[in-house]
Subunit: 210 residues, 2 copies
DNA sequence: CCCATCTTGCACCGATCGTTTCAAGATGAG
DNA sequence: CTCATCTTGAAACGATCGGTGCAAGATGGG
């Protein structure tokens, strides 16, 4: 039996995160979590606390796993705001294309289940979404977008991210998802004529940060 | 007590639909459904069958309620494909702004919970989404879009619809939602130079079919 | 070794899940 | 009226829910 832990805590948390990701908070029963992690109930509760706490740690783990990928994609010098959006959405497409993780996006699934979440979990989900929005806005400003344009494009890129997650959950093809992402990266922004000059079209959609 | 039904079947179904809409299938317990409809358990089961059947009837009721609104918004002669997208998304914004219905969209909430649904319910949800997509594509063709452009814009408008539902569930402001919708209606489509000539920009975003 | 400490499997808790049963009461046709 | 039919509230079903208690076994410091 035991004395010292018989499992890898980090790997167990990763698997628990996948269970919440696939099933959503409500349908992620303790039985499914024990089966998905390979842990017994005692080990689960002893290591991570109750279900709500485990969910919050899964959210945190999700952020630690994927926010750096977004950060990296957004950090590089980008020739245009559109390139920032394209790089951001490419990270999303790559994650969705990863066969080792569930469909969609843990944040999106959790957001649609807001009424089922406790206050702290809701706050965390919303804060993580807002943080992505802020990261996007800053990267867009760095790419030369105006203040208003950056705010709007950040919001729209975030929205497209959410739509990709929903369509993925509904079983839409990766071709359809790529089409949506490419179109979103083609939006010129409110400053209709200034940013549309050259940089936007020299780079085809997709093939960015892959 | 009884002998003949003590309630309005249509109104009860409408309220049950709202319970599924707000809570999602998993969290829409029988107790919440009885409380939301005002019916007793016996009346619920006797009138609508089990939970899964009631959910499917709620989906059907949702389609009967909102698809005509989309149909009407899409039917009128539109000056451009962008106008079609704008009209479509305006219906979505209006529904989200309606304080008498839950946040988001029953189809979107259900789509994110696909793993929790039985096969028939999944098929229904997917079919309803596909039908909206087809309606959009046809309206876009009627508005003068090319085949490829119509397919792409229909998909993107559908995606924007889903994103509005998610952001609404997450508590984003109606201003933010309107911004997303307006930007989506501004997408020129793949035929970069042909459709961009005059009709698209003569009409400001928003203020369509409201 | 001895023993406090930790981990684990298993059984079990009360609560809630979806569903069924049933008796009581209301109805309408004969 | 009589009586078959229907509706309703309430109780109860087995299953599963999230969570806990506990004894058995493993560990490492003294």
């Amino acid at each position: 039996m035991a004395g010292r832990k018989q499992f890898d805590v980090d790997e167990a948390l990763r698997r628990a995160m996948h269970v919440f990701w696939r099933w959503g908070y409500s349908e992620a029963s303790i039985d499914r979590l024990t089966e998905g992690t390979g842990l017994g109930r005692s080990s689960l509760y002893g290591t991570f606390g109750d279900k709500s706490t485990l969910f919050q740690k899964s959210l945190q783990r999700y952020a630690e796993t994927y926010h750096p990928l977004y950060d990296q994609a957004l950090s590089g010098p980008h020739p245009s705001p559109s390139a920032v959006v394209a790089a951001y959405l490419q990270v999303t497409l790559n994650r969705i294309a990863d066969p080792t993780v569930p469909d969609g996006c843990l944040l999106t699934v959790s957001a649609t289940q807001f009424p089922a979440l406790d206050a702290k979990s809701r706050t965390m989900v919303r804060a993580m979404i807002d943080r992505l929005r802020a990261m996007l806005e800053q990267a867009l400003l760095a790419a030369g977008a105006g203040e208003q344009e950056a705010a709007e494009l950040a919001l729209c890129a975030l929205a497209t991210n959410k739509s990709l997650a929903v369509l993925s959950r509904a079983g839409f093809s990766s071709d359809d998802l790529a089409t949506v992402a490419a179109a979103a990266a083609r939006v010129p922004g409110k400053t209709t004529l200034t940013a549309l000059s050259s940089a936007t079209d020299t780079q085809g959609p997709g093939k960015v940060a892959g």
